[in-house]
Symmetry: C2
Subunit: 153 residues, 2 copies
């Protein structure tokens, strides 16, 4: 139902890996090995994360990447923003003049309200939370139906 791109998922792994190497710099190569993701992909993700301010980089020999802040201070919402982009939930009707229909706009607004709610909730979930071992197990049925909550537009 909600959708998250693979890159965002991978990006979370990468961030978790950086969090695991407390303070020390980790090279893209090292992260690639540890996460089992391809080097070009990891490299691309790290660049995005630096650009978004979630990670910092040190160039040159012995360079590498590290979290810009403690894992407790990086929220799930920030991770999604950094990797999925700031897309809005729905283009709605505002652009194409369909909005003359009252009901249309009311509905579009509703999805946006939902999106705001979800974002706020995710703002309170930290990277550290994401790393917590699986709590009370989730019902497998649900997993199947899971995630397409991509409300990014």
């Amino acid at each position: 139902m909600l959708r998250m791109s693979k890159l965002t998922d991978y990006g979370t792994l990468v961030l978790a890996q950086l969090a695991a190497s407390e303070g020390r710099l980790a090279s893209a190569h090292q992260v690639s090995v540890d996460t089992h993701l391809s080097l070009p992909t990891v490299s691309k993700l790290l660049k995005s994360l630096v650009h978004a301010g979630l990670a910092v980089s040190q160039r040159g020999a012995r360079g590498g990447y590290a979290l810009s802040r403690p894992a407790e201070e990086i929220s799930a919402a920030e991770i999604l923003d950094a990797l999925e982009g700031p897309l809005a939930i729905t283009e709605c009707c505002s652009a194409s003049g369909l909005c003359e229909l009252e009901s249309s706009c009311r509905v579009g607004n509703a999805w946006q309200r939902i999106n705001v709610s979800i974002r706020e909730a995710l703002g309170e979930v930290s990277l550290a939370d994401l790393q917590q071992p699986a709590g009370p197990e989730m019902p497998p049925d649900r997993w199947k139906n899971a995630i397409r909550l991509s409300i990014q537009h």
Copy 2:
């Protein structure tokens, strides 16, 4: 951040339109006119909605579509399920053997827990809610709270 396809957005308009014509049957053509969406698209959406059990249809001349239940009893989660399909949030690592890395799996699981939480929260939002005019108060706190509570355990 979260992405929802255009069709899902359109589908919501279509459902809202059906809700507006209380009980009476509405033809695909009529819905198309009222929503300003193209007939083929509306037709496709209505078929999906009937298939998902959210709408009922009457064939033949003077036929048409109607909601299968009152708008109050149709949840946002059901709408997303019907139109976005049962895609999983992340393929995770379970298939490709990457899961040997403990942290990877913990992370994957975390996103799934989040997704389940969001789904549960959306299960409490009805089509009738979606039609409410945008109140001054944006997101009902109960949505946010519901999401946060279930993520944190």
